[in-house]
Subunit: 119 residues, 2 copies
Amino acid sequence: MSKSLIELTPTQTVACCSPLMREPLSAVQAERVAPLLKALADPVRLRLLSLVASHADGEACVCDLNDAFDLSQPTISHHLKVLHDAGLLDRSKRGVWVYYRARNEALSDLAAMIGGAGA
Amino acid sequence: MSKSLIELTPTQTVACCSPLMREPLSAVQAERVAPLLKALADPVRLRLLSLVASHADGEACVCDLNDAFDLSQPTISHHLKVLHDAGLLDRSKRGVWVYYRARNEALSDLAAMIGGAGA
DNA sequence: CTTGAATATCGACATCTGTGAATGTCTTGA
DNA sequence: TCAAGACATTCACAGATGTCGATATTCAAG
């Protein structure tokens, strides 16, 4: 797991719980983490991310994603962009089709910082 | 850990990764999880929650929290209410003072469902 | 080069959200 | 009973967000 979201302090070595509950988040840290949560904090985006992440090859074509919702194509495109801009989805274009892939590292980092360990 | 956020399926027994990446979230599940993330998805609330969670006795007085921010008292009160309504903070009044306590279970449930296991 | 299909971008709109000033509600102490 | 302090609620407002229709962009096929 990468250590990008939170700078590790010496105390970390005696990890007892997630960074969130170990010591107060600095304003800077909070400003860095909040956008990721904001990107996740929407029912449609949660389902989109889950659809992509749980898909066979770990990636999914936008054409498939569009059909899974009762929303317009631009709206789905918008949500995918939000997830991509937040660093939660990777994008790759092959021919006319665009495939998105979940960035598992980003997800587990986020999970670790929220409620990590056994806490 | 409680199992409130996501109903467990038979597949769960062969857990390989978080619910989010194991299989597509249903619309109902997404609608249930999103509000929690929404409550967390704000820099001020992240710091508030972290302040409370990492505080000595696991709880903190509003009077202390107010001083930690350059925001008006009503604004802090509002954010605390959002966290409380989402089920992330417990509230207890003792005398004139109000103490908030982090609901660790809610946090670890959330973490588990986002990026859980080793994924 | 033109057509058609797959995505993205733009413009507009209603709704939601973060914030502060003013005010209300409790509770303690005099 | 009154005054003062701790916290919540209400009101108002600027800015962000989700959505769609229309349009632009990119690519493959013919």
